[in-house]
């Protein structure tokens, strides 16, 4: 029995029942296409996030109140963490030489209003350094003024969309808006920046951090951002910041994150998400396998007398099993190819609709989808093939 002849023989059986074969391989095609598309989306989301972080530059350090690592200490033994204060930020700014910019950050949602027009926005209390840390341009006027972090002022810088909605085509500079109960003078409007560092900067307003803290009635900062001159400085700066804060707080009740660490955390979360999506799609593949098994069982019972004939002319049980198994694998393999093509087309379509999402299926998913589709055929084709091989030749021949 030569492999090529065998392929031809099984292939003839597959092509002999066009509709039935097409329907059963459609199941596998859908499964494989689902794996391709879903993993492409997951991978696209991952790359998108990683690219976003990369666009920030890798010389950024964020200090957050509270520990990230949990220790084995009893609850209550470890005291409530100290707040991260403006004094902490000032200490870092003055003592860490490697820090090019330091920006304390406080965030809350507030209503911003001008006359009848009002909307809820995120109010970011920060300092002049923030603009350089995140690196975005101001369109008109100026960003928050330089000066000590403690000095508040009733001034506000508007995000691009906020300015557009409150003022339309008017010039907002010098005009007054209300933020909660506070009257603030607009000193600047940002250019359109889009999402940076996980926030849409077009949808926020910036006020001096001291003003924000009194506005929100807080003493603790959301975080302190530090930008070093170069990427090489980042670990040294981190150690210095840590030393200063331990000295001030008496214990390590804060965490410091580099953007790299954040990016890799997000990246691994999204990789896990991709795997979950792949697993869900794989379930549809195994359901498709049941479809193939069903078709093969029908095929075996339809061709019982053919099996009897084969046995009579000296075809062995093993050869009969191989013929039917190969038929199942051909069905699922063809389905896999169709699914692969369809999946890639859908991904292309998605990319052309949403160019921002760099969706592309990871190589492992493509390989796995093809391998699994073949394996599905072999696995679900096994039972029908065994049934065919075990047919009694005399009884099989008796069936016409």
């Amino acid at each position: 029995m030569r492999p090529l002849d065998l392929f031809r023989f099984s292939g003839r059986a597959v092509s002999g029942h066009r509709l039935r074969s097409a329907l059963s391989l459609l199941g596998v095609a859908i499964g494989v296409a689902a794996v391709i598309v879903l993993t492409a989306l997951g991978e696209g989301a991952r790359r998108y996030v990683v690219d976003e972080f990369a666009s920030l530059g890798t010389n950024l350090l964020a200090i957050l109140p509270g520990r990230t690592e949990t220790t084995g200490a009893m609850p209550g033994v470890v005291g409530v963490p100290n707040d991260l204060t403006l004094d902490d930020a000032r200490a870092i700014a003055t003592r860490v030489r490697l820090a090019r910019n330091v920006a304390p950050v406080s965030i809350a949602t507030e209503t911003v209003a001008r006359g009848e027009l009002s909307r809820q926005v995120a109010v970011i209390g920060t300092a002049a350094g923030y603009r350089e840390v995140i690196d975005f341009p101001v369109a008109r006027g100026q960003f928050l003024p330089e000066g000590d972090f403690d000095r508040g002022a009733p001034v506000v810088v508007l995000g691009y969309n906020v300015a557009k909605e409150l003022f339309g085509s008017e010039d907002p500079i010098g005009q007054v808006v209300r933020i909660g109960a506070w009257r603030m003078r607009v000193i600047g409007v940002n250019q359109q920046v889009g999402t940076k560092a996980g926030a849409n900067l077009d949808e926020v307003v910036f006020v001096p951090v001291a003003t924000a803290l009194s506005m929100f009635n807080r003493t603790s900062l959301f975080r302190i951002l530090v930008r070093t001159h170069t990427h090489a400085d980042i670990e040294t700066a981190r150690a210095q910041v840590r030393e200063i804060l331990i000295e001030r707080h008496g214990e390590e009740d804060f965490s410091s994150l580099t953007e790299e660490a954040l990016a890799s955390t997000f990246s691994s979360i999204l990789t896990a998400l991709t795997l979950v999506l792949a697993a869900i799609a794989a379930i549809s593949l195994s359901v498709a396998g049941l479809g193939i098994m069903n078709v093969m069982l029908v095929s075996v019972s339809e061709r019982t007398s053919e099996v009897g004939l084969m046995r009579a002319v000296g075809v062995s049980r093993r050869q009969v099993a191989v013929v039917f198994l190969l038929e199942a694998v051909l069905l699922s393999g063809l389905g896999g190819l169709v699914g692969l093509g369809t999946g890639y087309l859908v991904v292309r379509l998605l990319v052309s609709l949403y160019p921002a999402l760099p969706a592309s299926p990871p190589v492992w998913a493509v390989v796995a989808a093809v391998v699994v589709s073949l394996a599905v055929g072999a696995f679900f084709g096994w039972l029908p093939a065994r049934r065919a091989a075990r047919l009694d030749p005399v009884l099989a021949l008796g069936r016409r």
Partner: protein, 247 residues
């Protein structure tokens, strides 16, 4: 070439034993042409299946070329069928999706012949049954007689020693039947051992010897020229032979 010693075949049907063959002993020489007659249910098909190594006796021994077949496993029986035995059936058993020549090639595909040799031998076998102009027709495009001749070509393409035919003309009109019988006679003249199950005296008359089975027992063995005696044996026994129940 063939020797049966007390061969019995018992089936279980609904928990009851049914005796399809009862202690049949016979000997068939190489090159002989033997007809097996019997009323329906007399066990003649069962006997042919055992002779063709598709079925096994439940008692007794079947010697093929002097070898006892009861000790052979499924694989060895399969090889015997492939190399020594050819089958022709009442309902042809052609594979509908394959052309005539592909049907004839089928045994050779699984025996591992090269495509070239297969095509050559299949074409020759079809020429021998006068179907050279029907190579690429599918069974549905062929007449009954043509189908049986394709089946005959398939049965002989592996050059077997023994050809087993189960009612080869049972589904054919007289003319086609006569053509198939002539081909069988010619194959026998060329030295092929021929075993034909039939209920048709005109077919049985071609044989050198007629074995008559009644209720699974060998009732009579006469030369083909004395077909009237065989028919008489059937006529006498037929009313009581119902319910034999062979598969």
């Amino acid at each position: 070439m063939i020797r049966l010693e007390g061969v019995s075949r018992t089936f279980e049907v609904g928990g009851r034993p049914v005796h399809a063959l009862v202690e049949v002993s016979a000997e068939i020489q190489a090159g002989e042409h033997v007809a097996i007659m019997g009323p329906s249910g007399s066990g003649k098909s069962t006997l042919l299946n055992i002779l063709g190594c598709l079925d096994r006796p439940t008692a007794g021994e079947y010697f093929l070329d002097g070898r006892p077949t009861s000790s052979l496993d499924d694989g060895e029986l399969t090889r015997l069928r492939r190399e020594k035995l050819g089958f022709v059936f009442q309902f042809f058993h052609l594979v509908a999706r394959l052309t005539a020549v592909e049907n004839v090639e089928l045994p050779m595909v699984f025996a591992g012949f090269s495509a070239g040799e297969r095509r050559e031998r299949a074409a020759a076998a079809l020429a021998a049954v006068d179907l050279s102009d029907r190579l690429d027709h599918r069974p549905a495009q062929l007449s009954g007689g043509e189908r049986q001749r394709v089946a005959l070509a398939r049965a002989t393409v592996m050059e077997p020693k023994i050809l087993l035919a189960d009612e080869p003309t049972g589904n054919l009109d007289t003319g086609s039947g006569r053509q198939v019988l002539a081909l069988l006679d010619r194959l026998n003249d060329e030295g092929l051992t021929l075993l034909v199950v039939t209920h048709d005296p005109l077919v049985a008359r071609h044989a050198e010897r007629i074995l008559v089975l009644v209720d699974g027992r060998l009732a009579l063995s006469v030369p083909g020229s004395r077909v009237e005696e065989a028919v008489a044996a059937l006529l006498v026994e037929e009313p009581v032979s119902e319910g034999g129940g062979a598969a």
